[in-house]
Symmetry: C2
Subunit: 148 residues, 2 copies
DNA sequence: ACTGAAACCCATATCTT
DNA sequence: AAGATATGGGTTTCAGT
């Protein structure tokens, strides 16, 4: 499942994790390659599924979601379909991780207000018992792991 | 703190959250705007801090990090500097949220192996008591909230 | 697998409405 | 805020190494 990546591949991944909208020729300059070679590398990283996409990061507060919360969900039973449907519908749920341990799901949700957060948690509480923590601050900027 | 966004701004944000590397002219086509108008909109979203960056998403398994875990950390006291330093250094820590509630920090970490994960948790355990859950699956793809 | 050249496409700036 | 136009730079393809 692991793909063999050399130094240049890692350099490309690093650059694109920080600034995904630089041009391929700019990328080529930064990793010391010709533009066509860099374009080919990027294509390979995309087709092999190493790079899965490019996404804009937004300031949630500025777009009207000043609250961020972590909701842990103890989910009894094994009927996961209804929860999946909720995740599809509610775009306020930004991330959902199913984990080992007592709290089966850890969710990251954005809310417009405490009332909104309350309503979201109520919806989730329909599936099991929840533990909610409101996020003071996101300590890290967006980034990925380095070369292992 | 909130910025006023109209339908076109939201359409641009949506497009860039899904595909951040499309050209401005392609974006213009998708949101029914001229290229120069679209470019101007994007510039405004960037300078007002609505869009904070563009980032490549990678398949962690394919780059050698087959394990993902959620670590919750009970952090007694108020000396947060040493933890901040660890976050800077250890790029395996992908995200760190400081929250209300008993578990002050919720971290998302990537690991190359169980041994590696154990070492990471040991490092974190130096700061307080930890609760770790290994992630079975990330249920949602990368996305952002919709218009409130 | 990378380079370099050519043709084509896109981005950016400026001006006009 | 949108459209037109021009120019410089970026992307893509292909032959050559």
């Amino acid at each position: 499942m692991t793909v063999n990546l050399d130094d240049v591949d890692w350099a490309i991944i690093e650059q694109f994790q920080r600034e995904a909208r630089i041009s391929v020729s700019e990328l080529a300059r930064r990793v010391s390659l010709s533009a066509s070679a860099a374009a080919e590398r990027v294509r390979r990283l995309e087709t092999t599924g190493v790079i899965t996409g490019y996404h804009a990061a937004v300031d949630l507060t500025k777009i009207g979601y000043p609250l961020l919360a972590v909701v842990r969900l103890k989910y009894p039973g094994n009927r996961h379909q209804p929860l999946r449907r909720l995740l599809e519908e509610r775009h306020e749920i930004l991330e959902c991780l199913r984990t080992t341990g007592e709290d089966c799901y850890t969710l990251k949700v954005a809310a417009t207000s405490m009332e909104h957060l309350e309503a979201l948690v109520d919806e989730l509480a329909g599936f099991g018992s929840t533990t909610t923590g409101v996020v003071y601050r996101q300590t890290l900027p967006h980034r990925g792991p380095a070369r292992p």
